[in-house]
Every structure is written in C-alpha cells, then in structure tokens.
C-alpha cells in the first residue's frame, strides 16, 4: 500500500511537555538565571527551566540520541531546538538544572547562547553539500565559533546580543542581509561558458533573464547555441549558474568571503536594518580562515569597547557614524564600499554633517 501523503507535520500539541501544556499562553515573565539557563514563570506560579547548549548544526543521529538520553533522564522525554540550532532541555524541576548542565558538558557541548553575547551562528551548507558555494560553511563556522566561544558561554559579554550568520554564496540561504555581523561567500571572477554543453543543458532565454544586470547575451555566432558574458556588467552573483549548469562560476583563485555588519530584524529601539559591507573580500584560507576570524574579532571587540548598554551593533554604528566605524576599526574604506546598484542614492550623504 502506498504511503499516505499530505499528512503534514506532527501536531506540536502532542509533543510539548506537561508544564508547557498546563501554562500554555499563561507565561508571566522570565529571567536569565545564568548563561544558558532561562527561567520562565507562569501566572500559576509554575516554573520552566530551559538549558540551552551549542550545536555544530551538522550532527549525527548519535548526537541526537545523546541528547535524547539526557532528556529521558531529566526532562521526562522532552526537548526542543531554537531557531539558531541550539538544543534546549526543558524541565519544571529546579533541581534538575545542574545535573543537566553537567550531562551536557560531559558531551562536550557548551551551555550558553542567552542574553548579551553571541548565540550560535546561523549558516548554510558550503562545500559539504552545495553546488554553488563560494566558501565553506561548517568549517568556517567552527573556526569562528572557536574564537567567539567566550561570548557564547558568558565569560565575556557585549552591550547587547550579537547575531552572527554565514551564507556560502550570495543566494544567502541563511538570510544574512539583516544580522549584526555576517560572512558571505563571494565570487570575484565571471562565470565560464561551456559552449558545447550549454545548448543541450540550458534554455537560453531563461539563462539571459537570470542575469540581474543584463550581462548575458546570445552567442554572436548563430551556429553556436550558447551565450557570452559581458565582463563589464557581471557582478558575479552566480544566478546564471543556478539556472544553467554550463556556466560554472566557482573559481578557487577568486572565491572568498565578504563581511557585512550592522543589520538586525528586531524592532527594539531602532527599526530593522540591512547589514552593510565592511570588508569586500578575503580569500578562502581553510581550514581555519585566520584572516576572517581575526577581522571578526576586531569588529566584535571594537563594538564591545564602544557600544553603550543595549546598543546593537547597528545602533552603535548609527550613533558613531560609519565614518567613525572605519576609523575606530582601522578597516580600509574603498570604492567597493560605495553602492552603485539599485538604491545607491539613498546611501549617499546629502548633508554636511559628518565626523572625522
């Protein structure tokens, strides 16, 4: 008999712990007991403790089974995950908090990711699974989080939370365009065009339409069913490669990462904002990308020093001005930083107000 289709996901109501069921929608307040431990108190007086820990996102089923063992022992078989891949153990018993922390740490997982620091880094697949990756994801994230570890476990704190993310190409599956600090894989060389394969593999009008700048044209020789790329118009987005496998854009010499800063999605204090380009290009340097981790550390530490309480990265930069961001960090400002795409003019300074 064929399997049933369209049954949808399991109903969450069958998966939530009793304390959640009993106090559903009746939560009164919360506090961060210590890094990685949240205490939520309901109108009824019931308490719910959540113990949050780090995860590499790319995990084995044995990792999940290890988590299940802890949840079976201390959480009546219940756990959840956050939107940033952090497993959370849920218990109504205060006495279980320390044993859970010990059990989690025994697995080698850090407890933290709450409050004014750095939580887990949202990221994509990279070289482990993706065809359009301009850089790796899991490897680079591991290298970055090793450096940011003190901010996860609460040994070091920041003016406010800092969300890190990484996308391995500008398709940005991790939606990094609105986070405090982001790493994006970039290509810097135009795609190759494999004329002998293109006619068979790709639809030419679709391929041309895929180019945001109109850089792709039919091959001038009518007998060759292929396209050409205008190098003056191409900005290496790779959208052509997405629709046409005969236009590979990966290039070990040119591929690397860019760094963006100051974005956010929350509305607290200031409105959501885009992350902005701060470092246009750093070549790939696996397995630890030291140039990338050092640059991120520099930006985080400059923010830690200059940010006022509750200022997000972007709010700190708004207050001091981008010109001061570049002078304080010492990062070079170049022609690459000035927008010349669609909404460029909204970023030009129509004022004599600026700092030095």
């Amino acid at each position: 008999m064929p399997a049933e289709t369209d049954i949808g996901p399991p109903d969450f109501k069958t998966l939530i712990p009793k304390v959640v069921k009993d106090n559903y929608g009746q939560w009164k307040y919360h506090e961060i007991v210590k890094p990685g431990v949240l205490k939520h108190v309901a109108e009824s007086g019931d308490e719910l403790y959540s113990i949050r820990c780090g995860s590499p996102k790319l995990v084995s089923i044995d990792f999940i089974r290890d988590l299940c063992d802890i949840a079976d022992k201390y959480c009546e078989g219940h756990l959840r995950f956050t939107s940033r891949y952090n497993p959370e153990f849920l218990t109504a018993k205060k006495g279980n908090v320390e044993p859970i922390i010990k059990a989690v740490q025994k697995l080698g997982l850090p407890v933290g990711g709450t409050g004014k620091g750095i939580s887990n880094m949202v990221h994509t697949q990279g070289w482990i699974h993706c065809h359009s990756a301009a850089t790796d994801a899991s490897g680079l994230v591991k290298a970055i989080m090793d450096e940011m570890y003190p901010y996860f476990v609460g040994e070091k704190t920041l003016p406010n939370k800092l969300k890190l993310s990484l996308a391995c190409c500008i398709n940005m599956c991790g939606a990094i365009h609105a986070t405090d600090l982001a790493v994006v894989g970039v290509h810097t060389k135009i795609p190759a065009v494999i004329d002998e394969k293109l006619g068979a593999l790709c639809e030419i009008p679709t391929t041309m339409a895929a180019c945001p700048t109109g850089a792709i044209r039919r091959h001038p020789d009518k007998d060759i069913k292929s396209v050409t790329v205008n190098p003056d118009k191409c900005m290496y987005c790779g959208n052509c490669y997405t629709v046409c496998p005969a236009m590979p854009i990966a290039n070990p010499e040119g591929d690397g990462v860019a760094i963006y800063a100051g974005g956010k999605v929350a509305d607290a204090r200031s409105m959501p904002k885009f992350s902005r380009l701060v470092i246009p290009y750093i070549p790939n340097n696996p397995p630890r990308w030291p140039e990338v981790t050092n640059a991120l550390k520099l930006i985080v530490e400059t923010y830690a020093k200059g940010g006022r309480p509750y200022e997000r990265m972007g709010e700190w930069i708004d207050r001091i001005g981008w010109e001061r961001f570049f002078s304080l960090t010492g990062l070079p400002f170049t022609e690459y930083h000035i927008d010349d795409f669609k909404f460029a003019r909204t970023t030009y300074r129509a004022s004599t107000q600026f700092k030095w």
Partner: protein, 397 residues
C-alpha cells in the same frame, strides 16, 4: 599520518566539532567516509565538488527533496547520489525523545545518519541518501507521522517562534497559526504551483526570533493596540536590584514615551509608543504587552537574488489572530492569485511589488492605503491619475 590533516584540524577547539560528528558516522556509513575525504579535498583545492541537482522525488510530491550528485563519482562512489530530504518540523521545534529516536532509526536505515537540526528555513534536514532509498524512506517516515517540507516554487515550510509555548511576549498563538496554515496549504507546500518560493513565518512579538521580517514573503509579527502594562511593585524590585531605570529604560525609549518619577514608571505618552519592545526586554518582570493583542502583517522580505535584498514592509497594521484565521488566509490566497498571474519566472512577491508599485499591488489584493504602510509620502510629483482623480478634500471642522 592521517589522510585528512586539514579536516582533522577542525576537531580541535572548544566549539562542538561537526568533523567529530562526521567521524562518528564514518565507520558504519561509507557515504560519510567519502564525505570526509571530499571535505579534505575541498579544503585543499578551495572549491566545492557537488553538482547541480537533478530531478528526484517522491510519488505524488513535487518538492521536498534536493537532488545532489558528486562531480567525480568514480573517486567517491558512495556519494554518487547524496540527496537531501526536508522533513516538516513540528511548530516551535518541540519534540519528544520518542519522536526524535524514531527519525534517527529510520534515517539510520535509509541514509547517511547525518542531519541538520534544523535547516535555515526550519525543516529537519536529512542529509544524504541515494535515489532508490528515497521512496521507502518517505514511506516509513509517513507511517510514523512525518511529512515532507517545501522546495522549489512552492509554499516553503512555514516556521514560527516558541510563542505561547514558553514566552510571555507572545501576542498570538504562533504555534497554532503555523500548524494551521501548514495543514491548510499542504497542496501548495508539496506540489510547486508558484512562480518562485513563498515563505510564511510568524513571530509572537517584534523581537522576531525567527527573523520573519528579514526573510519571509509573508511575515506575521505579534503586537498590541492598547497600552503596555506596568507593574510598579516589580519596577521597584528592579530598582532595588540596581537597575538604572532612568538611563537604561526611559532614556533609551526611542519615542520618549516613558517617564520615571517618584519611584513610578509610567507610559506618560501612550500615543507615542511604537511598541518596539525595548522596555519589555530590559524589564520583563515589570512591563508586559497590552491586552488587545494581534499581529502586524508585513510582506516582501528576501535575500539579494535578484533585485537586491528586502526587509518586509507593513501591509496590515493590525489584525486579530484567532482560529480559523479566515481573514489572514483570504489575504494569503488573494496574494497568491495576483502573484501567480502577474509575476515573471522566479520573481519573489516583494520584487513584484517593487515592479508594479505598492499602490497597484494594494488595489489588486483589496487593501486600503494607510500611512502606517510608508515611512513618508512620495516627494516627487509623478502621480498616475490613470482613471481620473479619485480624491476629494474634505476638511474636518
């Protein structure tokens, strides 16, 4: 000497290592052993070794599987196919260990044993299996109550924050709403009917823990219409605990709506409050959302491809969010109808709005223009009076 020295480097350091995870699976999963070798070669050559996906799928479905092939199957035969299955997560990512162990056992039987908990959109990602295993894998997941998530030009797996399951900020039932729309639109989720992807995400307040405003075409954000509630006893507790209410709360209110006088914190100018959540974030014990709760609907967020990244913009300033969510669903369906009719291939709804203009889009989906939708009125004189002037100035006396 190890044959993967670069990869081994990433077993070191305090952050949990995905390489250790791969190495746990490698002895019993030849595909994962190959994966480690590929990662080493990618580190050495600084490039990916995966090819474009071909079309693979499950009987009766048009999405949910990402086809993936290695570029040199002779060298790495165990990952010749290495497809991904997206499995629709439960609302709020709540699990019982029984449910998780079931997934693990099934994935052990049919795949690489490697997963993402979870992918960026929210699905459980089962990373790496071959074509013949796809159908039996799905059949067994389905028999145990799981179903596929979205991919391609369809409704992508809807996602939400933890909402009323744990959070006092939740202004509507995000968990129920997302479960409800997921169940209502199973067909749109499983059989790609659209010009491109369509994402629905719901956050219970504007802190927006699932980044709905940053990445979903249809972002539902909890808010309230009346005034926030302040508990003076709890304010005093914060003050006694050393919190500088004047500096950190009153001074940092973006609209200067709060006042702290004589030991009392008041919302002195409630009409100025934009419900940004800052004061609640600092003093969750003392300040709570109002009572008349609902949501703001914003639309159009997306990543850069292809006209540039967008953050969602206000479409409906306030809507009550109660099951069966008839009004919201009617709006979603109207949007789909207009988008389907008018979008170019691979044009996200936000890009369609940019191309035709917000006034045209509003008319098409039957929404009345209100000032909450814009940051400012237009500054240019280029108004289209296509159908004559539909405006009559009547000054209030």
């Amino acid at each position: 000497m190890s044959d993967t020295p670069l990869v081994d480097e990433l077993e070191k350091g305090p952050w949990p290592s995905y390489i250790k995870e791969l190495k746990r699976m490698a002895p019993r999963k030849p595909a994962v052993a190959d994966l480690l070798k590929i990662q080493e070669v990618s580190f050495k050559e600084k490039k990916t070794h995966w090819k474009h996906g071909g079309i693979v799928g499950i009987a009766g479905y048009g999405g949910g599987i990402i086809g993936r092939y290695v570029d040199d199957p002779k060298k790495w035969p165990n990952v010749e196919h290495f497809h991904t299955m997206r499995v629709n997560q439960p609302s709020g990512w709540f699990y019982t260990t029984k449910a998780l162990r079931t997934i693990c056992d099934i994935w052990d039987k049919y795949g690489s044993g490697m997963t993402n908990m979870h992918g960026s959109t929210g699905d459980i990602i089962l990373l790496g299996t071959n074509t013949p295993n796809l159908q039996p894998l799905f059949d067994e997941l389905s028999a145990h109550g799981f179903d596929l998530g979205g991919s391609g030009g369809d409704l992508r797996t809807p996602t939400c924050c933890v909402g009323p399951g744990r959070c006092e900020y939740a202004c509507f039932d995000t968990l129920d709403f997302i479960y409800d729309v997921t169940m209502t639109y199973q067909n749109e989720l499983h059989r790609p009917p659209f010009p491109y992807k369509f994402k629905i995400k719901a956050s219970g307040c504007t802190n927006d823990c699932v980044a709905a405003k940053g990445r979903s075409d249809f972002s539902v954000i909890g808010t309230w219409r009346d005034s926030l509630r302040i508990d003076q006893k709890a304010v005093k507790e914060y003050v006694d605990g050393g919190l500088d209410v004047q500096q950190l709360v009153v001074h940092k209110c973006p609209t200067y709506a709060l006042e702290y006088k004589g030991g009392k914190l008041e919302l002195a100018r409630p009409e100025d409050c934009t419900r940004c959540m800052h004061c609640l974030n600092v003093m969750p014990k003392a300040i709570r959302p109002g009572i008349d709760k609902g949501a703001t609907i914003l639309m159009g967020a997306k990543a850069p491809i292809m006209e540039g990244a967008n953050i969602s913009c206000v479409m409906v300033p306030f809507i009550k969010m109660e099951p069966p969510y008839t009004e919201v669903k009617a709006l979603i369906e109207k949007i789909w109808e207009y988008w389907d009719e008018n979008a170019k291939n691979r044009e996200r709804v936000g890009e369609l709005i940019d191309r035709v203009g917000l006034p045209t889009f509003l008319k098409a989906i039957g929404l009345k223009p209100v000032p909450q939708m814009v940051m400012a009125p237009r500054s240019n004189p280029y108004v289209f009076f296509r159908d004559g002037v539909d405006y009559k100035l009547e000054l209030k006396k």
